[in-house]
Symmetry: C2
Subunit: 493 residues, 2 copies
Amino acid sequence: MELKIKILKWSAGIPVAMMNKKTAEKIGIHIKDKISIKTISNYPKETSTIIDIIEGVVKENEIAVSSELNEVLKAKTGQKVEINLAIAPKSLVFIKNKLNEKQLSQKQINEIIKDIVNNSLSEAEIALFISAMYKQGMSFKETIYLIKAILKSGKKFKSKSKFVADKHSIGGIPGNRTTPLVVSICAAGGLVMPKTSSRAITSAAGTVDVIETIAPIEFSPKDLKKIIQKTNACLVWGGSLGMVPADSKIIKIEKILKIDPEAQLLASIMSKKLSMGAKYILIDIPYGKGAKVTKSKALKLKGKFEQLGKYFHKKLKCVLTDGSHPIGRGIGPALELIDIIKILKVEEERPLDLEKKSLFLAGEIFEMTKKAKKGKGFEMAKEILCSGKAFEKFKEIIKAQGGSLKKIKYAKFKKNIISKRSGRIYEIDNKKINSLARIAGCPVDKSSGVYLHHNVKDKVKKAEKILTIYSESKTRLNQAIRFYNSQHPIKIK
Amino acid sequence: MELKIKILKWSAGIPVAMMNKKTAEKIGIHIKDKISIKTISNYPKETSTIIDIIEGVVKENEIAVSSELNEVLKAKTGQKVEINLAIAPKSLVFIKNKLNEKQLSQKQINEIIKDIVNNSLSEAEIALFISAMYKQGMSFKETIYLIKAILKSGKKFKSKSKFVADKHSIGGIPGNRTTPLVVSICAAGGLVMPKTSSRAITSAAGTVDVIETIAPIEFSPKDLKKIIQKTNACLVWGGSLGMVPADSKIIKIEKILKIDPEAQLLASIMSKKLSMGAKYILIDIPYGKGAKVTKSKALKLKGKFEQLGKYFHKKLKCVLTDGSHPIGRGIGPALELIDIIKILKVEEERPLDLEKKSLFLAGEIFEMTKKAKKGKGFEMAKEILCSGKAFEKFKEIIKAQGGSLKKIKYAKFKKNIISKRSGRIYEIDNKKINSLARIAGCPVDKSSGVYLHHNVKDKVKKAEKILTIYSESKTRLNQAIRFYNSQHPIKIK
């Protein structure tokens, strides 16, 4: 059946369409059924969607599509589309096989990933897949299949340079915004770093959320190529590039479930690095109390990453770092950016822990790529930072992406939290600090978040400021204060 | 923040609301965030929902609610509601504990069920709970907790009669519509059978889908009481009564996932029976190839049901029956009803397999309740059926529910499938027949489905009709024919 698109400025968080009751009856669609929808044009775009039934808003010959659905269709009001009942996805059977401890084949994983990309699998079904991966684990073979399937479903970036390097942190540590620093330092040091990042999953901000405060982060692969040619680097969102579309969709559901299965973590990181053509890959695995992993889990993960690096013929190194407390002072997109700029400008008040970690990571990359001799990477990174070259490179990247450093601003509302006693801070709970920042509005409200006036091991006096909560909404600020008072994320004795 | 309800005639299959972008910004709501919504009235109703953001359709001071959300709020256009950010549900943590093989406490299961009932858990999160139950199983204790939690979240029906009996089939067998027959026979034989049923989960029709063809099946507990007082029985939908609201919501997601974990199956059945005050419970467990369970699984299930019966001080019996092929001729709401009426009228052309099984089940109940002596139940049931008393009782029930026998009609489109060879039918695949009927439009399109002209062990000649597909939509009919031709649900040799 042919229908006309009606664009409504409607964001539902998921791909969904609305049609009139009569239209639904004619096609034989019931609520919760899926349809396939295909634009009628020289280059038709096809995908699946679930259907809402509504009266008054759409006419009998119309179909309204959510902005998430129109990301695929790229249709305009009045454009014609062909609607059909979608066939039930075969891949649900494979997902259940996995849940029942069967090994999946490359073909089956390809099918699951394909159905995720074209919306044939619903949120609940993707949740089941995540649960199966989480619960059963995936074998080394399956993880490779998953990486290949994700790569197959997307696009690849190719570079002629021998020096394409990439870094990744498995995340979960509040602050810890090393990426913009490492990318600026390494690119200033002669490497090519086409860095794509994701948005925050369970934390207060991802690199992309931070960069978005001052610059666009969504580009077409064509525009991205120009940026990289100009600056040898970028700091962009992987999701918009269509490099690994399956990954973005899985991450969306992982966010709701607050689950991040190991195989998906491995596949997500590896597929991103491989799609960007990285030849050198450095993986930072923070471990410890309140981190995503314990030390023994970190060592296992390191083993798996290195195995994958070997399989895909890449030079890959894992470093284990202390993840037991936040790194840097700001938690939240704008607040983290402020930290970064302080470091790039080598200001006196800069957070030294974040600087040191960034220099260490950049140094490792310089040594891997043989830009620096063994043991001399840190020094090289420090020189580049202190010379101002890293800051120049950062500004260059932001400018190439169409941004500007002028835009950083603080949130409308704030509340200083003061210490009720004198003593030494012996614990800052990563998860609670992340939750606090999220309640305040992170990562969506860029200026919201938490600023730590002190870090672990610092001495504080009674009535001294220990942190400040920033928020764009009074409701959220009050909720964050209540959370702080009931959860005590910072412990002093 | 106070907003005004706008009713849109909008069915989304899930509770969801729409608001203007500016309103969302004011409250600090982001897409995929949940809000709590509470009517402002003397008897306020409160629930949670996810939010779509839309422009043009709702004004700044308005909120549009899907019909699924308004089932709870029962609000009218213009009515004021109070909106707040919803606090993240604690129960997600418990669900993950379960996934990680931890035992759940009564308190934790109560919390999960409460959050399911008030919409605090999203589809993806409920999917995770189902996956955890499916994968980890639930201990006997946990199953009891689950039953108690489901009962606690709903209402209870009380009867003074000593003879409140109930029956249940674990389902999955196409046709097999014994319930209306057993209820009519038993109630005509002096028992009280307040039968609540559910809609189809994975099959072509549930008892409620069948009865809905000719009578309303949704009642308030008050109206239901009147029906039972008048007829000693009913054939209604449990979902609308609010007896076990958690169960209905879990089943909705199970439908999407096509998963039915054992603990949820046990809890779903037991909580329904207990909420209706049953003192005698008969459970039919069909087993065999193509049934939900194998014989050994059926025996295990029987053991668990009997344990639960003992725990709750009920007289409970399980019977194991042959579930390796469809029972009766019609598959689909109206087609199954036609079978039932033929049996009630003792017509010559009636499906004898369905009759025999129904008499067997009714006989067992007569013996359990001591209405018949041991070994004499079947006879008693047969007498009641052949005397026409069961048909009278059935008509009485339908009339008391506001229905009428006149309404049964065949679907608009049909297609006869003929045999390509002579031989004997040696297999009819339950799952494929169910799928065929569902593709044809079951259970939503009442008249759609499959009519089997023959059953297993029958001889057929080449070019003889073996089944007829009925559908209300040509698209669905064609899709069903394609499915039949590619899947061969009936095997002849």
